[in-house]
């Protein structure tokens, strides 16, 4: 059995059955418009990075799918299949309290990564999965990095703010507030620096 469950910007996500169990096979396809050296470099480094960072994140206490196999020849990763829904699709259907609770949980997960000097690199609400037991999973670690600086953590937070304003504009204020609350509560004093860096980053890249 093989079922296409998502066609993203850089990969195809297949649900497959092996050993009487479901798995996800994530395949990074070639992008013919990129120069070939860049294309193969990105496919290779992101595949190996994702494989490694899923485990690193897990060791920091963040719920991520377990990796079973990686193939750098065809740029695929075999990992846990999480039965659930993208948080992006769920947000509109939740009560305000449920929504805030998930956002706090999201902020808490990002804080656990940042505490371990890891950034996710693409913390959108598409990369959050809510399973049938209402647990939150963090996926898609292809842009994740270790040895993160305050700047890199600030960018991570900026990307959260961005995903909220572009995708959840009607709920963005309460979602951001709850996410930051979850983040600050878990990170304590350290949160201050990264949050003020987030504000700073927002102002860059524009005319002054």
């Amino acid at each position: 059995m093989e079922e296409l469950i998502a066609q993203g910007a850089e990969s195809v996500i297949l649900k497959i059955e092996r050993w009487n169990q479901y798995f996800v096979l994530k395949w990074r396809q070639s992008k013919p418009y990129l120069f070939k050296d860049i294309d193969s470099h990105l496919r290779k480094t992101r595949t190996s990075r994702e494989c490694k960072m899923l485990s690193v994140a897990r060791s920091l206490g963040v719920r991520t799918p377990a990796v079973y196999a990686v193939n750098l020849g065809d740029y695929t990763i075999l990992m846990d299949y999480i039965e659930g829904t993208q948080f992006k699709q769920l947000a509109d259907t939740l009560t305000e309290n449920q929504l805030k609770e998930f956002c706090r949980e999201f902020g808490h997960s990002i804080a656990l990564l940042h505490k371990g000097d890891v950034v996710h690199g693409d913390p959108t609400t598409s990369n959050l999965i809510v399973d049938s037991k209402f647990r939150l999973w963090l996926v898609d670690f292809g842009l994740s990095e270790m040895n993160a600086t305050v700047e890199m953590k600030g960018v991570d937070l900026h990307l959260i703010q961005r995903t909220l304003e572009t995708t959840h504009w009607e709920l963005q204020e309460s979602m951001l507030e709850a996410t930051i609350k979850g983040y600050s509560d878990s990170l304590g004093k350290e949160a201050k620096d990264t949050l003020s860096r987030m504000e700073e980053i927002r102002e860059r890249g524009r005319y002054h």
């Binding site: 850089e10 990129l34 050296d37 860049i38 693409d122 842009l143 960018v155 890249g205 005319y207």
Partner: protein, 330 residues
């Protein structure tokens, strides 16, 4: 019934433009001039002086080319922001004066939104993901929930600015983009440069530093240009692809001064093929900063009932794309 005629004034950075457009979407004229600094970058005060020195004659030329008189103008639109303060103020002053003198309504236009709308007029696109690339901006924008929202942008310097700074380092004139494009065709060896995509945002400063280093190591200029284009445009294409996959929109629009680059166009065409969406590159006369886009956006806004009183028309140098309700699309 006579068509509505709008004069649009653009002056957010180093270019001043005057364009005349009718409400059935005809561009009657589109005159502009760009300040080319003898050396170094753009000084805001010098650019604003350029606008006040040349503005009146550019406006006159636009009227003459359109074959109309001042009394035929029904509406004045101006670029209210974002941009360089002194340039915006000079342009706004001209617009206010004309509005008072001719006794016609004044409309305040967001420069970035105007780039998108003129692209939609030309391509007949309804709801695209727009890649807007110029000296001062690198953004991926799409309409959602009543506003144009920035899905991704540069975290440090804009693509055009990056190319100009690199060009200066390599001894090229201003603007450097076209020279980089020409020399890149002669490049044969790719030298690896930092590729920095963060979510749907990107960063060019690390790549720029590394490219300068290649130069100091004696790598040939064509090879540097080739490597820079492949890396910098690859990053842009990737964030455009991410925005398409995320929004599921069916059109991809390329606009802004850097839209003139053929290699970038080719890459975005590749993105559109992968996702089976339509692609359009805005034609050179309408891609850069010019008055026709301001005039057309002015018409859209006026027809949606939005004009502005002179007293409320102070410029907005940091006006974000997503800060304006897009009345004509709701």
């Amino acid at each position: 019934m006579m068509a509505l005629i709008c004069l649009g004034l653009e002056g957010t950075a180093h270019s001043f433009g005057a364009g005349i457009v009718t409400d059935d979407g005809k561009v009657l004229s589109n005159e502009w001039d760009m300040l080319k600094p003898a050396q170094g970058g753009i000084h805001p005060r010098e650019a604003s002086r350029h606008h006040s020195d040349l503005g009146p004659s550019i406006i006159n030329n636009a009227l003459e080319k359109a074959g109309i008189n001042y009394n035929d103008i029904d509406l004045i639109a101006f670029s209210r922001g974002p941009g360089l303060g002194p340039c915006l103020r000079t342009t706004a002053t001209m617009a206010r004066t004309l509005s008072l003198k001719l006794d016609v309504p004044l409309v305040d236009v967001n420069h970035c939104v105007a780039h998108i709308e003129i692209g939609c007029l030309e391509s007949r696109f309804k709801d695209p993901v727009t890649v807007y690339v110029s000296g001062g901006n690198s953004q991926v924008i799409a309409y959602a929930g009543g506003r144009f929202r920035t899905f991704g942008e540069t975290l440090d310097i804009a693509i055009g600015n990056m190319l100009d700074v690199l060009g200066r380092e390599l001894g090229m004139g201003f603007p450097a983009g076209p020279i980089v494009e020409k020399l890149a065709k002669q490049g044969t060896n790719y030298h690896s440069l930092p590729y920095s995509v963060k979510g749907m945002d990107l960063s060019y400063s690390g790549m720029l530093t590394a490219a300068k280093k290649l130069f100091s190591e004696g790598i040939s200029i064509p090879d540097i240009c080739f490597s820079v284009q492949e890396t910098a445009f690859g990053m842009l294409a990737e964030i455009a692809e991410r925005a398409l996959a995320h929004t599921k929109k069916q059109e991809l629009l390329l606009t802004g001064g850097v839209a003139r680059n053929n290699r970038l166009t080719e890459m975005l065409e590749g993105v559109s093929k992968r996702h089976d969406v339509k692609f359009h590159r805005v034609s050179p006369p309408l891609a850069g900063d010019q008055g026709a886009m301001i005039a057309w956006n002015g018409i859209l806004q006026f027809k949606a009932g939005r004009t502005i009183e002179i007293n409320d028309s102070q410029v907005l140098p940091k006006w974000r794309t997503d800060e304006q309700d897009i009345l004509w699309r709701t």
